[in-house]
């Protein structure tokens, strides 16, 4: 039972969120109005140049975005949107033509004072039906190797979670391993430390956070499988930790400007409500996630490669069915090849890419106790793509997806295929 106090608190938080959103919307509408009618001097809005020294690693992704400064105000604002058309079918059953407004995200950043900054990211999905604060944290810099961050933070597990902005990718969909294995844009209330060090071609970065986390829904859900993204649905996640114990997330990354970036990350903690009001109800059960990510640009060819692999271990009650797996794994690799880089259709620095994404997800690694046979519940997908970038901020994408998905028993797979075209841009 939630106490009245908790209820009030969540009410308050809701109202607060609502206020922030309405305000940012207001600012956004003002800006949009400016662009279309230029009634107000649009030179007031300056593209904030990115900090070229500090950019460059995945962990910088939240600040490494195009922002617009508002005159002399310390506040800068930005965002992106993603919209798709798709025609996809599974085993001969097609949903027909679909137009999808995937999401619109707004960033509001502010240099509050010397070495103190704030950034928030608010996402509206499904035409505004889903609304969430993905990031809202304040950063204090003591030293390049020692920064303190607190608020709603993005857990640095793998690379995609922090670096998920639509316009950065050549594919209309987020990787399946980043949405169906790990929760997409997984953020929680928490705080932690991060830092970076440079030396010639080398960069080293670390992040350590304690935050809210998962709950029992990861093994008790209507997906009928162990499913970490289910925890995102819990509206109380930003105020209460189901287990009462924080989730630890840590990441280490090294980058060599000539070779690429390699990241190793871990996220883990107790997920279940093992006690309530001081009464022990259950055993403690952990979820542990290990991820490795890599990205590189091949010299001469300029081929961009980015990949991520995740291994998940979940302690499932011994009284449970194997329907809910205790091990999961999956990942993706994107290969992007620029083929034309010149003036196209009147855009000075337009780029045409061909690309392909390979992905694999296994929600239940292991064998059946009853037969010794392999447990299925897995899929793989290939996604060839053509993308056109009239500028760095905007991308038109045309993808074809072919996907095979097997049920838990490894029965003949269901086949999915179809075209997706989309547009994503920072604004």
């Amino acid at each position: 039972m939630r106490t009245l106090y908790q209820r009030l608190r969540s009410k308050k938080l809701q109202q607060y969120c609502f206020k922030i959103i309405i305000q940012s919307f207001f600012i956004f509408c003002l800006l949009a109005f400016n662009f279309s009618y230029s009634q107000i001097d649009s030179t007031l809005l300056k593209r904030v140049s990115r900090d070229t020294v500090k950019q460059g690693m995945n962990m910088d992704a939240v600040y490494n975005r195009p922002f617009l400064g508002l005159g002399k105000s310390p506040v800068s604002i930005g965002g992106y949107m993603e919209a798709n058309w798709q025609h996809i079918g599974t085993n001969g059953v097609s949903e027909g033509h679909q137009f999808q407004f995937r999401r619109m995200t707004l960033f509001v950043a502010s240099g509050i004072g010397k070495r103190i900054k704030f950034l928030s990211e608010i996402e509206l999905e499904e035409g505004g039906k889903e609304l969430g604060i993905e990031f809202a944290a304040i950063d204090f810099e003591f030293h390049s190797l020692l920064n303190l961050r607190g608020g709603i933070i993005m857990n640095p597990i793998g690379a995609f979670n922090q670096n998920h902005d639509g316009p950065k990718w050549e594919f209309t969909d987020r990787p399946i391993s980043a949405t169906q294995l790990l929760p997409a844009t997984w953020s929680n209330t928490g705080f932690g430390l991060y830092g970076k060090q440079y030396s010639k071609n080398w960069m080293f970065g670390y992040e350590l956070y304690l935050s809210g986390g998962f709950d029992n829904s990861i093994i008790a859900n209507t997906q009928n499988k162990t499913f970490l993204p289910e925890a995102k649905k819990n509206p109380e996640r930003f105020e209460e930790i189901a287990s009462g114990l924080p989730l630890f997330t840590g990441k280490m990354a090294v980058k060599n400007k000539k070779i690429g970036e390699l990241g190793l990350s871990y996220m883990g903690g107790v997920y279940n409500t093992f006690q309530e009001d001081g009464i022990v109800l259950d055993e403690k059960r952990r979820v542990d996630v290990f991820a490795i990510d890599f990205n590189s640009t091949l010299p001469k060819l300029n081929t961009f490669i980015t990949a991520e692999w995740v291994n998940i271990f979940v302690q499932v009650p011994t009284t449970y069915t194997q329907q809910f797996g205790n091990r999961q794994q999956g990942g993706f690799i994107d290969i992007v090849q620029p083929v034309l880089r010149r003036k196209m259709l009147g855009w000075e620095k337009a780029v045409l890419n061909i690309a392909c994404r390979f992905e694999y997800v296994d929600w239940n690694v292991g064998t059946f106790k009853s037969t010794g046979g392999n447990i299925g519940d897995q899929l793989w997908s290939v996604m060839p793509a053509i993308s056109f970038r009239p500028n760095v901020q905007t991308v038109f994408r045309f993808n074809y997806r072919y996907m095979q998905q097997k049920d838990i028993l490894n029965n003949p797979p269901s086949l999915t295929g179809g075209f997706i075209a989309g547009l994503s841009t920072y604004f």
């Binding site: 058309w85 025609h87 996809i88 079918g89 599974t90 085993n91 001969g92 059953v93 097609s94 033509h97 029992n216 829904s217 008790a220 859900n221 209507t222 997906q223 009928n224 279940n272 109800l281 259950d282 009650p317 009284t319 449970y320 069915t321 194997q322 329907q323 259709l345 009147g346 059946f368 009853s370 037969t371 046979g373 299925g376 045309f398 074809y400 049920d407 838990i408 028993l409 490894n410 029965n411 003949p412 086949l415 999915t416 295929g417 179809g418 075209f419 075209a421």
Partner: protein
């Protein structure tokens, strides 16, 4: 100008491509290769109810919040009845505690069904010492509306309890008392207040409604208006599944199409079928039955081919688990319908698990266990020449 025309042509190509794109999507497997799908000729309101039932059967996964358990075996109907086909030992269920027709002596210890899984915080049941038990895997569930519509009189006409015709086959119906929430169907025949039950491996369920209500309660731990008692506490609780959902599921089961035979014109299949008849398999696995009147035209007064007589047969010691249900004896089993047999692998993960508990890994393996009344048929089967036996197997795989 050039710019505009290139852009225009590009957009046109994309739009035209979009129009023809469904050609590049995976196609539907042939109707005959699939078990799911409804009987032909349903009205649009019936189609809607079929779809609702389909959703409830396959997608309604229960969680502790929506009433799962606390004791359970699986979380949804579809978990055990994948693709409406034969089940896998991974989701087998265990029943225990009754060794003869005198009822279950382990009711106080969780009988008849073992709920060996529990939501967090609860202790699942263990098999009590001394209890005999059977393991059961899910049967194919297509075409059940046809089986439900066979009249009691037709079933009785196939029975031959005293083997009056001396063919060694003495099928009997399972006579069981009806639970209070079930009203007998039109034309029902009674014996000492008991009714002919026909569903389940021991024919211990009266009709699809009965089976569905029991499944919610015993398999998933979901109480209903009809079975309001929680399997853990034994106490009455509010319904965790609505009567409407139960009706939809029953309608879905009732209107699933009968499996469609494949390769009917293949010479081996035709000869294999003749061999099946000649060596006496049809004494139990009756090729054709007829439905009585049904408000659903596609099911009403139809001849169909399930290869069962819905009767119990003595199958000998090798299939005697020492456990039984209703009036059946522990070595008696209902003739397994053979329709859909050729598609069993597609729902059993590429392998075959035959007989009530999946102990046989091939058709030959299943015949190895045919004893009792089926001993002559088994001997005939293994005395066939290799080529004839292959033809017979090919016929069974076409079903």
């Amino acid at each position: 100008m050039k710019k505009i025309s290139i852009a225009f042509i590009l957009s046109l190509v994309v739009l035209l491509g979009a129009e023809s794109c469904s050609k590049l999507e995976p196609t539907l497997p042939k109707n005959a290769d699939l078990l799911d799908g409804s009987v032909d000729g349903l009205s649009s309101s019936e189609n809607q109810q079929f779809l609702s039932g389909d959703k409830a059967f396959n997608d309604l996964v229960f969680t502790p919040e929506t009433g799962l358990g606390p004791l359970f075996v699986a979380t949804s109907c579809g978990s055990c009845h994948t693709g409406d086909g034969k089940g896998h030992p991974f989701t087998e269920l265990t029943r225990f505690g009754q060794s003869d027709s005198n009822g279950n002596s382990f009711l106080a210890q969780g009988g008849p069904q073992l709920q060996h899984r529990a939501i967090p915080g609860y202790t699942p049941e263990n098999l009590p010492t001394g209890a005999t038990f059977s393991k059961l895997i899910a049967p194919v569930i297509t075409g059940l509306g046809f089986l439900e519509s066979v009249s009691d009189a037709d079933i009785l006409a196939m029975a031959d309890p005293n083997d009056a015709n001396s063919d060694g086959i003495s099928g009997v119906p399972n006579w069981v008392s009806l639970p209070s929430y079930i009203s007998p169907s039109a034309g029902a025949i009674t014996q000492n207040g008991k009714y002919i039950h026909r569903f389940g491996k021991k024919a211990s369920s009266y009709n699809l409604f009965h089976q569905t209500v029991k499944a919610y309660s015993q398999d998933i731990g979901i109480t209903s208006l009809y079975e309001p008692h929680d399997t853990y506490s034994g106490l009455e609780s509010d319904p965790e599944v609505s009567s409407q959902i139960i009706q939809n599921v029953v309608f879905y089961l009732h209107t699933l199409k009968a499996p469609v035979q494949r390769n009917i014109d293949d010479a081996d299949v035709i000869q294999g079928k003749q061999i099946f008849v000649n060596i006496g398999c049809v004494s139990c696995h009756k090729e054709s039955l007829t439905t009585s009147y049904s408000p659903i035209a596609a099911i009403s007064n139809k001849v169909f081919h399930p290869y069962t007589d819905l009767l119990l047969h003595d199958m000998g010691e090798s299939l005697n688990d020492g456990y039984t249900e209703g009036g059946a004896l522990s070595y008696e089993w209902r003739t397994a319908p053979l329709w859909g047999l050729g598609l069993a692998k597609n729902s059993q993960g590429g392998e075959l698990f035959l007989l009530h508990d999946g102990r046989a890994k091939s058709i030959e393996g299943a015949l190895n266990y045919h004893g009792g009344e089926a001993v002559v048929a088994r001997t005939n089967f293994f005395n066939l020449s290799d080529t004839d036996r292959k033809k017979l197997v090919k016929f069974l795989e076409s079903l």
